[in-house]
Each structure stands twice: as structure tokens, then as C-alpha cells.
Symmetry: D2
Subunit: 140 residues, 4 copies
């Protein structure tokens, strides 16, 4: 999937254990996803103009190595499942310098109509987007 | 002004210096203000229904003593100025246990029409609210 | 487990969809856990004095209903698994007014020695804590 | 002072008014300052190794234009005052695309000894750092 998304750890993201607070990795998943959608698929604004919302339905994260202030997170993401009404994106957060795999996770995003709040079949209603997302599905 | 607003310091509000990150006191100012408006003046939802927004125009904060995880912040606030189109609210954040004055600050809030985004004279358009706010002006 | 932990939704916790940003529920899990440990088991400071850290090893969350500014979250938690070196805590976040179940989740916490960063058997080293936690295990 | 620091507005930084929550600009001041210290003066880690802390003593911010999700903030900063025991840094946050000046602010940072927590004369104890900072003082 080409180059990873990079995030420099900020002081305000650390906690009293002197490591990144675990909730911030969840925010970086979103950061990486926004960047990836915009760079590789289509901009969030265009998605919104299409009348599409993609809320998080569920997520999980596994914490393996701690990151600290000044570290650079290098985040790789993949579409691991795609259906007409939702998709799963998987994340791997590496410490850029040490190359340690620090945090992994997945989030399930639903495709909803912005006006009605109801699920939308992206396959039917936005075939171009469905195809674009399909190109990023991890090869088995 | 009666009892203060209380906020228990959370772990996610600390930083690697093992103290509360300075940006969080700004959030607590908002918390205290929301609570105070709702308890003493009128709820934010009612204000919104009136078509009124109160964005922050400017703020300042002075940091005197550090707070730590598990401390309880006791926040006192006062309307220190009120004009037809804006007001100044002042905050004093105490450490409830030690009674030390930790952080002080002010924020200037504008009264804007939600639809047009233009300043509104609360004195003219919402005299009842103007009067209610006036009751909380600090006595000299 | 007695009364739930309550959290009033703050404006700074909302996002441009006008709902609570999904990362904040992860922070509320921590808030509820801190409160519960302190009220029902032992204070975080006492745990730290014992030389014990309890970092998050993994977590998951499922988002069912959205919460908005001014809503009150009522959070119930339970120890769903306890072993000598880790425990699983489960959370249910309700909208206090509507009683809707909004978000559920689990987090796995490890027991680590603060000095060495290595796993500690709480059962062996802190039998009193192990017993106290055991009292809160969900009855089947 | 050469190129500005850039920050892409994240979704989790917006609030229910669909603009950036005002507390986040305070965090970006820190981001820009960290980047600037590291690029132009010396890394935060080196400062810490020298046994120096630079806590925020006070700050102010003035909000002129709102920023939204997907906007790019271009942040310029300057040392506007430097004394042996503290310095003032001023920030100007621009919307990179529209070039509108959105937020301005200042923060006062103290120089403290990490061990004792007492003020340190950087001029006396770290003349090299004092000189490096002096090079960035805004010319009148």
C-alpha cells in the first residue's frame, strides 16, 4: 500500500507513566484512515458530499510496545474485509526508529446515508467507491 | 456564587511530567461554565434553541500550582464583565484538598446568532437572559 | 455492583458529527475503572505504592447508540476474568435518561512490577488485592 | 524564521459546532514549539538531559477565524522576550489555503531545574542555549 502514515508523538499525548496514553492510538487509527482515504481513495469532503457517513461500529486494539514523546509512529493500514454495507480496516503502528510493532488494531466502519442515518449499499449506490476500496483489500 | 464545580483529575489528563497537561485546564473552564450556565442561568440546549451561540473570542490562563492524577479541582467562576454583545468569565481552579489556588484565567465569550453568525445584542433580543447573567456579575 | 459511575458529556468530547467522538468512550472506561478501583477495591495511589502498574494490554469496544453533548453516561463495569497476572474488565455505557445501552467494551489489564516492568503474580505477591478483585467477578 | 510548522486538522479535534475546539490550538502551540526547539534550537530530550524543564507559566489566545476538519494550519512562532529565567513565545496560526490569520497567542515558559523545581538562570548555567534562543528573538 505504498508509504505509511507518520505521526510524531506529542507531549500532550503522553501520560503520567511517561508513555503515550492508550486512547491516543485509537485517534491515530482515524488520522491514518483519513489520510489514506484522501490520498488513495477519495477525500472525506467528497464522501460527505456524496451523502455518505462512515461511523465506527466497533474496534479493537492490542498494545505490545510502548511509545514515548518524540517517537515517530509509522502506521500501515489495510482493508481486510469489504461488504456492501461495511468494511474492516486493520492498522499496524510501528516505532519508526526501532521498527518495533507497537500496536495493532481493527475498526469496523459502516456505510450510512447522512440524511436518514440508515445503512447504504455502497456496492449499489456508489459502485465507483466500492471498486476503489476493493483495490486496497489485502491479498491473502 | 454558591458551591464550586468539581472535577476529578483523570489519568488521561496527565502528561509525562506527571502533572495535568496545561491544555486541560482550558477544557475545565468550559466544563465549569457549562455546569454553571445550566445550573444557574439556563441550559446550553435552551440557549441553542434561542438561536444563540457563545464562542470563545479570547482567553488567558496563569498556572501557579501543578495538579496531579487523583486530585480534585474545585472551580469557582464569576461573570466579571457583561456588555450587550459579550461577557467575560473568570475562573479560579483550587486544589480541593490543599486549598491551593492552582490556575486562574478569563475567557471572553461573544453572543452570536446561530443562523447568521453575526453578533447579537442579548440586552435587546434576550433581556431575560441578560438580566439573569447580570445577577452573577462580581460585586466590586 | 452498586451504583454506576456517571460522566456528563462535555462539549470538548463531541465531534463534527455532533456526537461523542468514539475515542472518548475508551477514556470513560478508564474513568469508571479508576473510580471503581478507588471506591470498591483500593486507590490507584495505594496500588502504585505497592509497586504495581496495570497497563492496558488490549481492548475492544462496540458502538450501538450515539451520545450527545449534555447527555449523562451511566457506566457499569464488572471483572469478567481474573488470573494471577491479568484481569478482564467489561463496561456497559448507558444513556442515563433514555436507558439505551450505547457502548460496550472490555479491556485486559496486566499486573506489572513498576520497577522491573515484568509481570507479577498478584495472587502470590498481593493475596489481599487478589481476593478483593475476586469479590467483583461477575456471577455466572 | 524560515518555514512554518504545519498541522492537518483531525476529525477528533472538531466539536459539535463543526469547528476546531478552542483548546486544541493551545496544543498546537506546543506542537509548533516542540518542532521549532528541535529543528532550530535543540531537542527536548537534550534539554531534559541538561536537567532543564520549561513549564508554561501563563498563556493567552485570541480566536479570529474558525478552522475546520481537513484544513491545514500553518503556524509561525517567534521568541518575543527572553530573560535569564523565562521567555515569551508568540504564535500565529494561519489557514494555509485561505491565508487567513485564525488564532494568535503567547505563552510564557519558565526555566526550571528538573531536580529541584527551582528557577534556573539559563544565561548563567546554559549560555550556549541562551545564545541560541537569542538568535530567534523577533527583530523590532
Amino acid at each position: 500500500m505504498g508509504r505509511n502514515y507518520e505521526h510524531v508523538v506529542q507531549y500532550y499525548e503522553t501520560d503520567a507513566m511517561q508513555i503515550v496514553h492508550h486512547s491516543n492510538y485509537i485517534r491515530w487509527f482515524e488520522e491514518a484512515r483519513t489520510w489514506w482515504l484522501s490520498e488513495k481513495v477519495m477525500s472525506y469532503h467528497k464522501l460527505e458530499d456524496m451523502g455518505l457517513m462512515m461511523p465506527i461500529l466497533s474496534l479493537n486494539a492490542k498494545y505490545q510496545e510502548m511509545m514515548r514523546f518524540g517517537d515517530v509512529a509509522s502506521i500501515r493500514l489495510e482493508v481486510t474485509k469489504l461488504s456492501p454495507v461495511k468494511m474492516v480496516i486493520s492498522y499496524q503502528v510501528y516505532n519508526k526508529e526501532s521498527e518495533a510493532l507497537c500496536v495493532t488494531g481493527d475498526s469496523v466502519l459502516g456505510f450510512l446515508d447522512k440524511e436518514t442515518g440508515k445503512p447504504v449499499s455502497v456496492k449499489k449506490s456508489y459502485p465507483e467507491l466500492y471498486e476503489a476500496l476493493g483495490l486496497h483489500i489485502m491479498k491473502g
